[in-house]
Symmetry: C2
Subunit: 312 residues, 2 copies
């Protein structure tokens, strides 16, 4: 079961973090860009050549110390068909290194359409007669619940059929997340709480041997009070925690997503790790020539930071 | 401005409908599938060869009578990188025939990520130095508002910068849409009404010469009471109306999305039109050999059905 594999990887590496692979061409070391522009041209293929090279180097520097990576679909989709090829290559490469891959796609639609999305990310796509193929073949995908269960059910079914997971948006990390998510209902609940209750219901038949469900939730580290409330409400859901680091969430904030067993969450960091050589934290220690050392150092710093907060 | 072009196309063709291009390989005429499987192999490339051929024939049969088409991203994404190539080819072909293209992608994320999505669908993507490229280059895209304005702003900015439009999910057409969208707030409003109020606010600076905004809304024909309420609340938003036909909405239901000027909405139909040769409505009149005649006949029937309801 997906959630069991995730937990075992977290325990093996003593690291409850996930690294976001969010490539922005303008942030990638110039020598990698120039090399690929020379090889493929100054075009989308050149861009995605650079992205693939960058991602592989980041993965090589991290796969033995982190349990999971989270490629953000938007940062591949932005580069068109070529970008999706890079997305696919990145997922395959990360899996070949033993990493769990969470495709951050936040897909959502009516049932028959949600099924097509689910097929693409965690299920299989019908080709002809008895031929079905995996497409992006991630281990898990993020899902927006706005359509209600119609739009979530196909993902839950693929989780059961193919041993995969989903993380459903409950309370997002961005500053305007409260506009709708924090509206209060006439029975005194917040919208994010109503969604948390549904996540419990939707995930109750997908619980693994450690007591957690493969139907997880997304709750931002940037809202520690809501996190505390949601952690107590989300009975079995594993929580994917964005917002640590660059967005302002601390290790102490993220720690509220965990339960007494030291489990229950994975904390994401993207830009702080993959572009760590530019970060003030490390002074002049790193340059674009040793960006993988910087990424590894930051991933270790993050792991220790979160584990320290969890011991408190 | 996007909404002005849409209105002018609707007027030119006297047809306020949009045809959903939602290709499912299993629904495409077998002879088209076999031809493409023979040419490219029984694989994703064979599938998307068939999809491109099918879509082009559908577009050829409709472009002079309908103002717009709406390819649903999921039905391309399901076929991976090859699927996105078909999505891109379909958009280009439709635009070359003068059709307005609404990419139905329902994208959503935090601001910096929403910007990447917006770049892909309606904006431009940075490549290098002063080189920026359009990627899918649709005329408009659908957006899920769950993140609040942070996640919508980049799309609004691209609408202003590139003369594009968005349609924001307000009340979706599926049967479980009420699970969250119909929750009532402590001030007596429904969640979909709260979103409608925000759509008004977000769209107030993007109003064209006919008084409508390029920042539109999605409201399903399957909920006519809510449609009536929302049409009165959504001051300037053009409404994209799914749910007509196969999903159960009637022309009278859809007509509630229009204002007294006969404008204010476009009604979508997907499967009923593109797979019309299979529909009971037409008896044995059509086969897969003349599926384009069936699609054209159904598109005309739909246009007349909606215009009849609008004259009431």
């Amino acid at each position: 079961m997906f959630v069991d594999r995730l937990i075992e990887e977290i325990r093996n590496k003593n690291n409850p973090s996930v690294i976001g692979l969010d490539p922005r061409i303008e942030e990638i070391p110039l020598y990698i860009r120039e090399k690929n522009f020379n090889e493929y041209g100054i075009n989308l293929r050149g861009v995605t050549g650079a992205i693939i090279e960058f991602n592989k180097k980041i993965i090589d520097s991290l796969y033995d110390i982190v349990p999971a990576v989270k490629p953000q679909a938007a940062f591949y989709e932005r580069y068109g068909t070529e970008g999706f090829e890079a997305f696919k290559t990145t997922i395959e490469y990360a899996k070949s290194k033993g990493l769990i891959v969470i495709a951050d796609a936040k897909r959502n639609d009516i049932g028959s359409t949600a099924e097509a999305y689910s097929n693409a990310y965690i299920g299989k796509t019908f080709i002809h007669k008895n031929i079905n193929k995996t497409v992006f073949n991630a281990d898990a995908v993020t899902v927006n619940p706005y359509f209600g269960y119609d739009g979530v059910r196909p993902f839950v079914e693929d989780c059961n059929n193919y041993d995969k997971g989903i993380f459903i948006l409950v309370k997002t990390s961005n500053s305007s997340s409260g506009e709708f998510q924090d509206l209060q209902t006439d029975r005194g609940t917040f919208i994010y709480e109503e969604i948390a209750l549904k996540v419990n219901e939707w995930g109750k038949d997908t619980v693994g041997k450690y007591g957690y469900s493969s139907i997880g939730a997304v709750v931002g580290a940037t809202f520690p009070k809501q996190m505390e409330k949601l952690r107590s409400m989300l009975k079995r859901a594993f929580i994917l925690v964005p917002g640590y680091g660059r967005q302002g969430g601390t290790a102490e904030d993220a720690a509220k997503a965990f339960l007494g067993d030291g489990l229950g969450a994975v904390v994401n960091s993207s830009r702080n790790v993959i572009y760590a050589w530019k970060s003030n934290i490390w002074g002049n220690k790193y340059t674009e020539r040793n960006f993988t050392d910087a990424a590894r150092a930051e991933a270790i710093r993050m792991k220790e930071d979160i584990n320290r907060a969890l011991r408190k």
